[in-house]
């Protein structure tokens, strides 16, 4: 039944025959326990083993591996942040991404198709240009595009001056791109497990064992587990864990929604973000449009947000990309992101000795996965903050030395 | 303050769409006086305001008290003289409109008491939407409950209509008065007329 106009979906390769031990039970004690088997937790375990030779490690997860934000984000990877501290950690991360598939030995669909950030007003152009120049002095690749150049890279963008918020320019990071989230998480998990790390799912932390201000293990739904060091890498649930350990963190947990369309023929081969109208979109390998919205305004652990956020986003998308008018919304979902007052992460020591924190990645966590794991592993292994992590210490809220990336996070990414 | 009509221009220039003989009529009613009144309902100032206006202000948000016919559905109908309508917008906040000289009535109260009376006649414009389909047109944009038992005649509410902030007053049968911020009025006009097309 030949038909010239029928196109076929692209098929992805298979996952490996074996990934990790099903129903792994915890041992009595570990050198290091990582709480949270999301991307950052798994990457931390991987780099603990690989960079520091610490393999007696358990990653414990209250649900299923990579079932939190790792599986719920829009997989955008970039490092074109404003502040030097951010450029430091995110660009380190991007460099790790660039060799990750080979290093870990797992297909991750890492695709450096470029990330474009549109500007829609005079002041928007000014702040995006600042970003562009900041990237330049930090040797982070960045290009300034005119609307016509935007159109050349992404012909589906409506650059007419007559739309409500016309495209006035864009920054473009050619090294930016996307990867496939499950494959990244599973790649780290498999590689860590191969080096001896235990991945323990369905194991929820219910408390900490702390003696004389020093952590000695965790209490879980699968019993007490002793550990010399514990790393909290639990994204939206960090406040809850910190509460169990007896200290405060300046974090708020918010819903962050995303959506995918059905599979469509390829129409977009770069990533486009627009903070001003709250759109960010890429088209995944199989053809689905992957889009994100902004965070909902209130605290929530419900993994769902308001539908008006989705509607607003699709309206904006139809304006910028008229070809999307007929695309079908297939699925929406929400993650729980933890956001610090300056929209930058919190990494490092805590008031409890040997208990380490890595949190507050807000809407930027996926792209940071390798870098975050890298610096967290170093911080845990050495017992002191890694150089790239140092600016992100909890005490910056006391000194006032914030790293205000609200501009970068104005739209979630 | 009397409007100097030779110098004045309303936000929509008195625009009109549809008709009284149609399912819906939308029209701007230009140069309608309006005042934001703030006064603590538990204070002597409140009693003084009520006495000066000769109108008992409701203390439940969303209620309207009036001695005035404020919509001009049929051509040529004139609002009653010296009328006042008081729309309760907040626990200590009323929007006063009408033909009475509200400023003059309250001037003595302002001297003696802690109240705030602000002329917002230019801040808002007034759009009347009338007809059997008026409610349908509004419900395309208005998320609040318009069922008569929940938003009866002489109920008012503030909210967002096509993302524009406004006061809505269910004035009489099939008739709603909208008081949007003036800067949004052109946008709102486009939105309302577009939503009306299906009913005409």
């Amino acid at each position: 039944m030949a038909n010239m106009t029928r196109r076929r979906t692209v098929e992805l390769p298979d996952h490996p025959d074996f990934l990790w031990v099903a129903d792994q039970k915890p041992k009595k004690a570990y050198d290091v326990i990582i709480i949270g088997a999301g991307g950052h937790g798994l990457a931390t375990a991987y780099y603990l083993a690989k960079n520091h030779g610490i393999t007696n490690v358990a990653v414990i997860e209250k649900g299923w591996l990579a079932g939190g934000n790792m599986g719920r984000n829009t997989t955008i990877i970039r490092s074109n942040y404003l502040w030097d501290e951010s450029a430091g950690i995110y660009d380190h991360s991007l460099k790790l991404w660039e060799n990750l598939e080979e290093e870990v030995g797992y297909e991750m669909f890492f695709s450096q198709r470029g990330v474009m950030t549109l500007a829609h007003s005079v002041s928007d152009v000014r702040s995006k240009q600042r970003n562009f120049y900041a990237n330049h002095v930090n040797a982070v690749d960045s290009v300034w595009l005119t609307p016509e150049e935007v159109k050349e890279i992404a012909p589906i963008v409506n650059i007419s001056e007559d739309i409500r918020y016309p495209v006035m320019g864009a920054t473009f990071q050619p090294r930016g791109g996307i990867a496939k989230h499950d494959w990244v998480a599973w790649g780290y998990a498999k590689a860590a497990a191969d080096m001896g790390v235990d991945i323990i799912q369905n194991c929820e932390v219910t408390g900490f064992k702390i003696v004389d201000g020093k952590v000695q293990g965790v209490k879980t739904t699968q019993g007490d587990i002793a550990a010399n060091k514990v790393g909290m890498v639990a994204a939206g649930h960090t406040s809850v864990l910190a509460g169990m350990a007896g200290f405060d963190v300046p974090l708020q947990s918010r819903p962050l929604q995303a959506l995918v369309s059905e599979l469509n023929e390829q129409v977009l081969d770069t990533v486009i973000m627009s903070g001003a109208v709250h759109v960010y979109v890429s088209q995944a390998h199989k053809g689905e449009l992957v889009m994100g919205a902004g965070t909902d305004s209130y605290n929530s652990y419900a993994q769902r947000g308001g539908f008006h956020v989705i509607e607003h986003q699709l309206a904006a998308a139809c304006e910028l990309f008229p070809i999307f008018e007929r695309a079908h919304l297939l699925r929406t979902w929400g993650g729980i992101v933890d956001i610090a007052p300056d929209a930058s992460p919190i990494i490092g020591l805590t008031p409890v000795e040997n208990l380490f924190i890595n949190s507050g990645w807000g809407t930027g966590g996926f792209k940071a996965t390798p870098g975050s794991g890298w610096v967290m592993a170093a911080t845990i292994a050495n017992g002191e903050p890694d150089a790239l992590a140092k600016p992100y210490a909890l005490d910056r809220f006391i000194s006032g030395h914030l790293i205000d990336e609200h501009g970068a996070a104005g739209v979630a990414h | 303050m009397t409007v100097k009509l030779e110098f004045a221009k309303s936000p929509l220039g008195g625009a009109k769409f549809g008709g009284t003989d149609k399912a819906v009529l939308i029209q701007e009613v230009p140069f309608t006086p309006g005042f934001d009144l703030r006064v603590n309902p538990d204070s002597p100032a409140f009693l003084a305001v009520v006495a000066a206006l000769g109108l008992v202000l409701p203390t439940t948000v969303g209620k309207v008290a009036r001695n005035n016919a404020d919509c001009i559905v049929s051509e040529g109908e004139k609002p009653a003289e010296n009328g006042i309508s008081a729309l309760t917008l907040g626990p200590d906040w009323w929007y006063l409109t009408g033909t009475a000289d509200i400023q003059a009535l309250l001037a003595p109260v302002q001297i003696a008491h802690h109240i705030s009376l602000v002329d917002v006649s230019s801040q808002r414009t007034k759009i009347e939407i009338y007809g059997p389909s008026a409610k349908d047109v509004l419900s395309h944009y208005w998320e609040q409950d318009l069922r008569d038992e929940h938003f009866p005649i002489d109920a008012c509410s503030q909210g967002l209509l096509a993302k524009a902030p406004l006061i809505m007053w269910h004035c009489c049968e099939n008739c709603y008065l909208l008081f949007p911020r003036a800067s949004f009025s052109r946008h709102l006009w486009t939105a309302l007329t577009d939503a009306s097309v299906e009913y005409l």
Partner: protein
């Protein structure tokens, strides 16, 4: 889209409100006497519980009043809302 119970106007759509985070965090009387740690706590630390939370909202597109309300952050259920400086109702938990 939450339907938020404004104590003055009744339940209204979330789009009419702005969120104000944790309720009952008062501006310190003598801020100059606070240590940097104490001040940072006031400026930056807000509780973030999983479950019932007393939080603030302002009905920006309506009566413009700030109020407090109990809400469950796990399932978005609302408990009683109440006006500032009034007795806080018990947690519905």
């Amino acid at each position: 889209m939450l339907h938020i119970p404004c104590p003055y106007c009744g339940p209204r759509d979330e789009t009419e409100f702005h969120y104000g985070s944790e309720a009952h965090v008062a501006y310190p009387e003598n801020s100059s006497n606070l240590t940097d740690e104490e001040w940072a706590k006031f400026v930056f630390i807000r509780s973030n519980p999983k479950g019932w939370m007393a939080e603030r909202w302002v009905h920006s597109a309506g009566c413009r009043r700030w109020f407090n309300v109990w809400r469950n952050t796990i399932n978005h259920e609302f408990g009683p809302s109440y006006k500032p400086f009034t007795q806080q109702p018990k947690s519905p938990a």
